[in-house]
Every structure is written in structure tokens, then in C-alpha cells.
Symmetry: C2
Subunit: 76 residues, 2 copies
């Protein structure tokens, strides 16, 4: 008989992402293990799994949940 | 000796999210199993794990990667 519970990798999936700022030189890591992103002022407030916070100015360019990446670009 | 490989629930973590549109009546599900979100026009183009696409008008209000939820609100 199969277990009534989800497989462990479903129950324990960790989906924190890295948030990058796109710059002319490439992508600059702003904060990793991010679990919450909310608009604040002219950008976003990021909070990670350890309670660390960072603010990044700009707008979201791309969210890739398979690669666990969020790219923010400077607002034009 | 411990395995050199990541634990299976790390390797297999599935991080698709549900995208909701915030309305006066509550939250309306736009698309589930979303893996990619990119700005397009006056909103965002969503793509899910099965290649389904949807466009949602508005701006991102909240991204909660622990609850696998992205909330879009109508632009003011």
C-alpha cells in the first residue's frame, strides 16, 4: 500500500531563489535564499530564509523558477 | 561515508508557483505550475511546466516562494 503522504522531495522542496541586478557588466547578485519579494518604493524589498533583507531598485525583468533566479533591471 | 550527491529532495525540488490576480472579491487563479514570468505589455507573460501560457495584466504585488504563490494586482 502506498503512503498517503507526499513524497519527501515534494514536502521538503526548497524554493529560495537568487536575486540578481542586471547591469552593463552582467548580473550582480543582490541576495540569495530569497523567499519573499514585495514592491517597495522604486524597487523591491527582498527577504531571505535567514531573515536578511535587501532593497533592490528597478523592475522585474525575469523570474525563472526552474533555475531559482529572479532578475531585476534598472527602471528605464 | 556520506553520499557526494545532494539529497533527493534537493535535486528534485519542484518550484513551480501558482499565479493569482488580486481582485476585489479575493484572489483569482490565473495559471498554476508556472516556471517563467516575464514582463510583456502592460503585465506579464506566464509559462508553466506544460508549456501553457497566459498573460496577466497588472504588476507584481507579492512573490512568496515558500508558499509557491505570486500575486499580481491591477496597475493603479
Amino acid at each position: 500500500m502506498s503512503s498517503p503522504w507526499p513524497a519527501p522531495w515534494v514536502a521538503k522542496a526548497m524554493c529560495e531563489s537568487k536575486v540578481y541586478l542586471a547591469t552593463d557588466e552582467g548580473e550582480e547578485l543582490v541576495l540569495e535564499d530569497v523567499i519573499s519579494i514585495r514592491p517597495e518604493g522604486d524597487g523591491y524589498l527582498l527577504v531571505n530564509l535567514f531573515g536578511q533583507q535587501a532593497h533592490v531598485r528597478g523592475r522585474i525583468k525575469e523570474i525563472d523558477l526552474l533555475k531559482h533566479r529572479v532578475i531585476v533591471e534598472p527602471a528605464s
